[in-house]
């Protein structure tokens, strides 16, 4: 095995072009588990943690560009206002030690259907900034997940950053598990309100082969919410929203939960999350 440790981003891209089979490693919270348990031995490790620019985030217009090396802990500490949905999801990842190392880019690289960053990235309309020696590709989040633990990256590409619109309204993340920590989601849900654009974003996790949007639910709520009057949320609208979210899932039975349970739980989480978000919006008006 080789251990490659570039200290500059262009060098990392050159190494990945030359060694497309090299496995990138950041927090190592997925990669090292595989190696320790001998589930697979990469030909080479491409360590990205010595590249300073990956560790930064910046605001570019209405967008937050989160560098691939930004840990969950920093996201929670520094981006709770700009990206509340993603920060909430980050708070539920693993334990403090895992959050001190793990990154959203690693979550995207692993592309587990249960990854916690995915629902808020979907709800918030994120774009993955993939780069190779050939140039930069901006991949809309809905096109990034291509199958169970598969993503749209080409073999020579690395994730440079994820770009997420700064929140323009309330956002919520909700996750079901057996404990309040160290839990892989049984299923999860995120909602984001954009009152200016009168749009609702909805992302679901751990309830289909990939994380995915709930487009019918998004369209329905965007249309039916009382954006002008901002009256109390119509319980019928909330319930229907939950049903449509559940209908867009394709869950399976597995050790963590049955498909029927996941469908039911998604409907409940979606209904409640929309309620919390709507109440916040009304409260802030």
């Amino acid at each position: 095995m080789d251990f490659l440790r570039p200290t500059a981003w262009p060098d990392a891209l050159a190494m990945k072009a030359e060694r497309p089979e090299a496995t990138p490693i950041q927090g190592g919270t997925d990669v090292m588990v595989e190696i320790n348990l001998d589930k697979g031995r990469p030909a080479a490790l491409l360590d990205l943690t010595a590249i300073p620019e990956l560790r930064d985030w910046s605001r570019e217009g209405g967008e937050i560009r989160v560098g691939a090396g930004v840990t969950y802990s920093r996201l929670i500490a520094e981006l709770g206002t700009e990206l509340p949905g993603l920060a909430q999801a980050s708070r539920t990842v693993g334990s403090p030690q895992i959050r001190n190392r793990g990154t959203v880019a690693g979550n995207l690289g692993a592309a587990s259907p249960a990854g916690d960053s995915h629902p808020p990235l979907l709800a918030g309309g994120a774009v993955v900034e993939a780069e190779s020696v050939r140039g930069t590709r901006l991949i809309p989040i809905g096109e990034f997940y291509t199958g169970v633990k598969r993503n749209a990256l080409a073999p020579d590409e690395l994730i440079r950053a994820v770009r997420v619109p700064a929140a323009t309204g309330p956002q919520y993340f909700s996750k079901i598990g057996t404990r309040n920590a160290m839990v892989i989601a049984v299923c999860s849900f995120a909602v984001a309100l954009d009152p200016g654009g009168r749009r609702v974003g909805a992302g679901i996790g751990s309830a289909a082969p990939t994380p995915r949007h709930a487009p019918q639910a998004e369209d329905f709520a965007s249309e039916r919410l009382d954006w002008d009057g901002q009256g109390p949320l119509d319980p019928g609208v909330a319930r229907r929203f939950g049903e449509l979210v559940a209908a867009s899932a394709a869950p399976i039975d597995d050790v963590r939960g049955r498909a029927a349970y996941r469908t039911h739980a998604l409907a409940v989480m979606a209904r409640r999350a929309l309620g919390w978000a709507w109440d916040d919006l009304r409260g802030s008006a």
Binding site: F3, V31, M32, V33, D47, S95, N100
Partner: protein, 170 residues
Amino acid sequence: MRVNVTVNGRPMTADDVWEGESLLYVLRERLGLPGAKNACEQGECGSCTVYLDGTPVCACLVAAGQAEGREVVTVEGLAVPDGGSDGELGGGLDEVQRAFVDAGAVQCGFCTPGLVVQAHALLAGSDGVPPDADIREALAGNLCRCTGYEKILDAVRLAAARRAESGSRA
């Protein structure tokens, strides 16, 4: 490969490190520091918790090469070097370590080094005695199969109270 890393303030070098090896393995098997424990090797138990550049992490999930040029502090590094004679309980121990002993928070002791480092990090960032919810949250990634956790919570509260009393910070 060769890995250079500062451990507990001392520059150290490990040779013949396998590229897929963890920092935990290097500490325990190559640098003679068995304080951090190897229990699960998958980030679930926290018994391998060490400081990496001042941040507590699971050493089993850090690739050895990622620690190149960085600073590691293990449970061995928390004790005060000339704080007391060998074998005398309490001698040379850090406040958190002493509180674990005094509160009876140690049974088999396997989880203790990781818990001590994680609790140390919690107290370094808090004023006074943190609320129970914060202590539980901070220790959520450290498993103990013996104590039932109550004495561990007692130990953290005790260390925090003593620290607040003496006005010191970690």
